[in-house]
């Protein structure tokens, strides 16, 4: 796999049926359709862990991850965030606690900024911030849960935002509203690389 500095993601997986290569240019928006859920889970997990399994090669922001030491890998991970079933909400925390957990734990960004951003995003989707943020994840509809995850992702302000299976589990009425996620992401993370990932199994 050739290293291309302009690529935010360069992923190669060798399988018995041939090679799977995914490349995403830095700062742009890419859509990746994978053959099945297993391939999708492997790809998203490799990105989130900044680590590749045997048979995989991964470069993030032009840096091969295979030989990275622990701290360097952790630094790289901090530049990536995902809206994915793999990174679901914590069920015993309300939406605000879920959204602000990482910011409160790491001490950055300031919670006031997160609260303001959450209010803006929620109002764009027609929700009142205070009651929505006080709800527990188990009481959220699929789109609402994804919205909470979107706010959490935006709060992390990543350089690489992975949106995994956005339409999965949504009703026919919710799907058009999910399209708004893309514009919110683009507007609030203008410099970031956006990677929308889904599988053909979901589409069918």
């Amino acid at each position: 796999m050739k290293s291309e500095a302009a690529l935010a993601v360069s992923y190669l997986r060798r399988t018995g049926h041939g090679d799977l290569y995914i490349g995403a240019p830095g700062g742009g928006m890419s859509r990746v359709h994978l053959a099945d859920d297993d391939a999708k889970a492997r790809f998203v997990t490799a990105l989130l862990k900044a680590k590749c399994e045997p048979g995989e090669e991964l470069e993030l922001f032009g840096e091969p991850v295979a030989a990275l030491a622990g701290p360097a890998r952790a630094r790289l991970r901090r530049r990536i965030a995902a809206l994915s079933p793999i990174v679901g909400l914590i069920t015993n925390l309300n939406v605000w606690e879920n959204v602000s957990l990482a910011a409160a734990y790491h001490g950055t960004p300031p919670l006031e900024g997160v609260a303001a951003m959450a209010g803006d995003v929620l109002s764009a989707f027609g929700y009142e911030a205070r009651p929505f943020l006080a709800r527990l994840p188990d009481g959220l509809a699929p789109l609402e849960a994804k919205l909470a995850e979107l706010i959490r992702l935006l709060a992390a302000a990543p350089e690489l935002a992975v949106v995994d299976a956005l339409q999965d589990g949504l009703s026919g009425a919710e799907r058009p509203r999910a399209a708004l996620f893309e514009s919110e992401l683009r507007a609030r993370l203008p410099q970031a690389t956006l990677l929308f990932v889904d599988s053909k199994e979901e589409d069918s």
Binding site: R77, I86, G88, I90, N92, L101, A104, Y105, G107
Partner: protein, 258 residues
């Protein structure tokens, strides 16, 4: 055998990690989690269950005094040696195991099975910092406070009940209690209560984070293991502590003469 060794190793690692990360309590979400756990383990337990545990202490005093035909001295010694030093910490530990140990292990096993611990890792949040440290620290504090609470209620109950069983007034018994009470009684039960809290929470956290399989079926297994092993740990600590403090420290090595 191998599994037992693994569990001991895991428990020791978890304990060392807890000691090394105690400073993480300064972080806001960790402190929130700590306060929440103190509330669930300590405050909510302080009404029904602990009152019943204290009543059990009073009952034991009443029966023992009646059976032994106790005088003032013996009555107060029973209160101090049995109720204050032994029953208080043990009753608090039983309450913590039954109410919080079960909840802690089930909650963590559920988080592990449903992938929520993985989500925390991807958010850059250390599981020890966020899940283990606040729970263990809170269980230590809550067990200590519950122990003092049970001790006070049981001893007061015993003092109030004793005049009906033996020929002594409440004032006489109280006066004798203060004469016989030594700082050792206090430190002995305090240190033991803190150790009980630590052992219970560390054991439950360890099992919660290490289920035998990553399926829903593992949750009841985790809870059973956590509760059984916490109870065994508490009894072992109690026995070792009693032997070390009263066997070696005060009387030298205890030997049996036939």
């Amino acid at each position: 055998m191998l599994q037992s060794l693994r569990e001991i190793e895991g428990g020791v690692r978890l304990s060392l990690a807890f000691a090394a990360r105690l400073g993480q309590l300064r972080r806001a979400p960790v402190l929130d989690s700590f306060l929440r756990q103190v509330y669930f383990t300590g405050v909510t337990a302080s009404t029904g269950v602990v009152l019943r545990a204290s009543a059990l202490g009073v009952l034991i005093i009443a029966i023992t005094m009646d059976v032994l035909d106790a005088d003032v001295d013996l009555a107060v010694k029973i209160l101090l040696l049995v109720v204050f030093r032994e029953i208080g910490p043990l009753a608090a530990a039983v309450v913590v195991i039954l109410r919080s140990g079960t909840a802690m292990s089930a909650e963590m096993a559920m988080m592990r099975v449903s992938g929520q611990t993985r989500a925390l890792r991807y958010l850059g949040i250390d599981l020890y910092d966020y899940l283990v440290v606040p729970r263990v620290a809170a269980a230590m504090l809550a067990t200590l406070v519950l122990t003092v609470y049970v001790q006070c209620l049981a001893v007061l109950g015993g003092l109030a009940l004793s005049p009906f069983i033996i020929n002594a007034s409440f004032t006489e018994l109280t006066g004798r209690l203060f004469e016989l009470f030594t700082p050792v009684d206090f430190f002995y039960s305090t240190v033991k209560a803190v150790l009980f809290g630590f052992a219970i929470a560390a054991c439950c956290c360890y099992h919660g984070l290490n289920p035998p399989e990553v399926t829903q079926n593992a949750v009841p297994k985790v809870v059973t293991r956590a509760v059984t092993q916490s109870a065994m740990l508490v009894l072992t600590i109690n026995a070792v502590f009693a032997y070390v403090v009263f066997g070696i420290l005060f009387f030298g090595l205890v030997t049996a003469k036939v």
